[in-house]
Amino acid sequence: MSVNEALDQKTPTENLENWQPKILVFACNWCTYAGADLTGLSRLQYPATVRILRVPCSGRVNPQFVIKAFQKGVDAVLVCGCHPGDCHYTTGNYFTRRRFLLMRRLMEYIGMEPERLQASWVSAAEAQKFQQLITEVTEQIRALGPNRKLRDVQWEQWNN
């Protein structure tokens, strides 16, 4: 039995109408994390689909973290940092930008929807932008459905 067949058989019948994606956000400490804080302070609402992970700089996000997150069953990964030119560490987000473009190519290559990996620049003042971003990405991923391509954890769980 191929892996795909196994997956087809073992996938639990999910109620996709009420299904909510799980989105991991890597947020840099100086801009986006503060921007997300401001979103809260301004009481702007967005779907409870995201989990924010604080990193010092978006340049700290190793592509390995992204792959691992997909393997573990995250439906989308969002890498957020300061606007280009505004990096707290001068150049960190330029590296992020280059890595992101490469990662998108990799996603296409392995047959994953590239929309599942997104990068966006959100400053500490852009609460509204953060709200819109999360709302839009959640909608996009809801339309795409669950990530089944790399989720090895579930595969193991279903086997048990």
Partner: protein
């Protein structure tokens, strides 16, 4: 054995109004390594902190997770709390269930509670892997370097020196004073620029704590906050400073005449010269590019005439290396070169001058002794046109920004002209009048009402010479009709731009600069004089266009920041820095290229392998320079460099915990 305590805060009803805190605390009990879990109304309050301390003792907890507000708010509070209970402060991890959860999901109570549980699980997974980190201290050298001897540099140096710190001012011109020394009068008070600047220059020169290094430039900057090793090139002055009396005989007799930089080409100077009569130090330099002795090997008149025997043609550039605790960059600005504008004559019409040239023309110590006459035929001009925004607010050919000072100095020029020549007409072409500042709008009003300056809103499309006049053609956009002025003199309010080599200096020091080469402050509002490089501060127009009051205010602010640093014998450094695993590091040097702070270097290791002595290179991190961004950790091919507190293992543990 890791024993985690989880403390879930209600924040009154801020969190508990949405998130079921009791359920979160209950769920946390099942997470790996969690020994104790509880929720409470206000964790940050005195009883809340007591609760954490008591739990640490009673349950022998050694990792603490606080689920409450943003760590940007209360992380230091809880770090201090556990430190008082005898734990390392970096054993605390926070889950942000207020700003990132309860406040943004008020209508999704279930979803929010589920999310809070996830966030706590992530925090627990990370906390288990947190290592104790120690803040270290580094010594601070009590000496400051001020780069640039304009008004900002002088003010910063005086403030520092008065606070008891030794300061060196490095100025590349032969005299301190900067652009302010060239200005005639200052707005909005119209007091004479030299009268308020030169006493400060004298104070700086006479101050026992200030050393002037004029005719000197920064060669190299090494080191880090508290310990910058700066190499300064003292250019050969060809004058023995300790012997010269500044009598000036040499300058009178020198046969060479070249355009004076200080007079902006409106007058000549000699090859041995001081830039202006009030120069400090008031001792000449020899311009070797134009001096006959250096060009042809003969002349030597200055040497023969000097009564003190101070001329020394054999002097060489000297390199001086000194250690400084803090650096204040006050390198100022340059003026936009308007020769890119064909409509203003590409800089070829002698009677089209810049605002700064006008300052020299109307200055009592300037080339015309303050008599306003146009450069071409020395006639007194009757019709004068001033054009604002030359190079400012013009993305196509100039700069996108507003230079901030031009509206005001144009109003000043207009007033000065009308003061000197009563029957003159002054026309100012402007885009918008911008006069934010104390007394500025009133000054602009006076220039219109009292001095009768005519303001025309619109741009000039062409200037061309006709007989001995300049025809200025433009548009009055308020009347929607073309205007033409027969002008005798045209003054261009050219934009303030960064020094042409501002980027090179920034690279030497390791500070950021923006698209226009102005230096970037650490935060535009809350850290306007700091840079992202600790211990380096900004003052004056090198950070962006500024007038004199703002430059002086910023200089004093920078001096206060530097004082704060220099007044302690040592400083604490953040322990969240990178570390190299020397066993696996291949010494490829990729991390050196990626580090924005030049904090990584290669060092040579000598090892004994299979009985042989082998040398190999490995990376090494200077903890004083590293700011903990972690860019190098991602670039390392062998994963040999890691960022403390944000290791791959810690971040992956959080990712894993999220997905369980």
């Amino acid at each position: 054995m890791k024993r985690v305590g989880v403390f879930v805060c209600h924040c009154g009803t801020n969190i508990s109004g949405t998130v079921d805190c009791a359920q979160v605390a209950e769920a946390a009990k099942d997470f790996p390594n969690v020994e104790y879990s509880i929720d409470y109304k206000y964790m940050c309050s005195e009883p809340g902190q007591e609760m954490i301390k008591k739990a640490i003792e009673e349950h022998k907890l050694n990792r603490i997770v606080v689920a409450s507000c943003s760590p940007r708010m209360h992380e230091p509070t809880f770090q201090n709390c556990v430190e008082r209970a005898g734990l390392n402060p970096y054993y605390v991890e926070m889950a942000n269930i207020r700003e990132h959860c309860s406040w943004v999901h008020p209508n999704e109570k279930e979803g929010a509670t589920e999310k809070a549980i996830d966030l706590v699980r992530m925090a627990v997974a990370k906390a288990v892997r947190n290592q104790p980190l120690q803040k270290t201290t580094i010594p601070v050298t009590d000496r400051a370097l001020v780069i640039g001897g304009g008004i900002a540099g002088i003010q910063a140096a005086l403030d520092l020196a008065n606070a008891g710190h030794v300061v060196d001012i490095v100025e590349r011109e032969p005299s301190i004073g900067g652009k302010m020394a060239q200005i005639d009068k200052t707005f909005p008070t119209l007091d004479c620029s030299a009268c308020i600047l030169t006493p400060k220059m004298v104070d700086a020169a006479a101050h026992p704590n200030i050393n002037l290094l004029t005719y000197s430039e920064i060669e190299k900057v090494d080191g880090f906050v508290g310990n910058f090793d700066v190499t300064i090139r003292q250019k050969a002055r060809s004058i023995k400073m300790d012997v010269c009396t500044g009598c000036g005989i040499c300058m009178e007799k020198c046969p060479v005449k070249v355009d004076s930089e200080f007079e902006l080409g409106l007058a000549k100077r000699r090859a041995i010269y001081t830039p202006f009569p009030q120069a400090i130090p008031n001792k000449p330099v020899i311009d070797r590019e134009h001096c006959t002795y250096f060009l042809r090997g003969k002349c030597g008149i200055c040497s023969k005439l000097c009564p003190a025997g101070a001329v020394d043609y054999t002097q060489q550039d000297e390199l001086l290396t000194r250690r400084y605790g803090a650096i204040i960059v006050a390198t100022g600005f340059e003026l936009f070169d308007y020769s890119v504008y064909g409509e203003y004559g590409y800089g070829k019409y002698p009677d089209v001058i810049t605002g700064l040239q006008f300052e020299r023309l109307i200055n009592a110590s300037g080339p015309t002794m303050g008599k306003l006459q146009r450069p071409s035929d020395k006639k007194e001009p009757k019709n004068i046109v001033i054009i604002n925004c030359v190079g400012s607010r013009d993305e196509a050919k100039g700069k996108s920004y507003c230079s901030r000072t031009c509206c005001m100095y144009s109003a000043k020029h207009a007033s000065l002209i009308r003061d000197k020549i009563k029957d003159s007409n002054v026309y100012v072409f402007y885009m918008d009048m911008r006069t934010p500042g104390k007394g500025y709008e009133e000054f602009y009003d006076r220039s219109r009402e009292q001095y009768g300056t005519q303001y025309i809103r619109g741009r000039v499309s062409k200037i061309y010479p006709l007989n001995d006049k300049l025809i200025v053609r433009g548009e009055d956009t308020l009347l929607s009709q073309p205007v033409e002025v027969e002008a005798d003199l045209v003054i261009l309010a050219t934009a303030m731009v960064a020094q042409p080599d501002a980027d090179k200096l920034a690279q030497k020091i390791g500070i950021g600069y923006d698209k226009d080469n102005f230096y970037t402050e650490a935060h535009p509002k809350l850290a306007p004089v700091e840079t992202h490089t600790q211990g380096v501060y900004l003052a004056g127009a090198c950070q962006g266009p500024k007038d004199i009051p703002d430059s002086v205010a910023q200089a004093s602010a920078a001096a206060a920041k530097a004082c704060g640093l220099l007044s302690k014998p040592e400083i604490l450094t953040e322990p969240i820095v990178t570390e190299v695993d020397e066993k696996t590091c291949a010494g490829c040097g990729t991390c050196l290229l990626i580090c924005p702070y030049k904090a990584i270097d290669l060092k040579t290791l000598t090892e004994r392998i299979a009985g042989e002595i082998v040398e190999r290179k490995v990376a090494t991190v200077n903890e004083g320079l590293c700011q903990g961004c972690g860019a190098c950790t991602v670039a390392c091919r062998s994963g040999s460099i890691y960022l403390k507190h944000y290791t791959d293992e810690q971040i992956l543990a959080e990712v894993n915990a999220l997905c369980l």
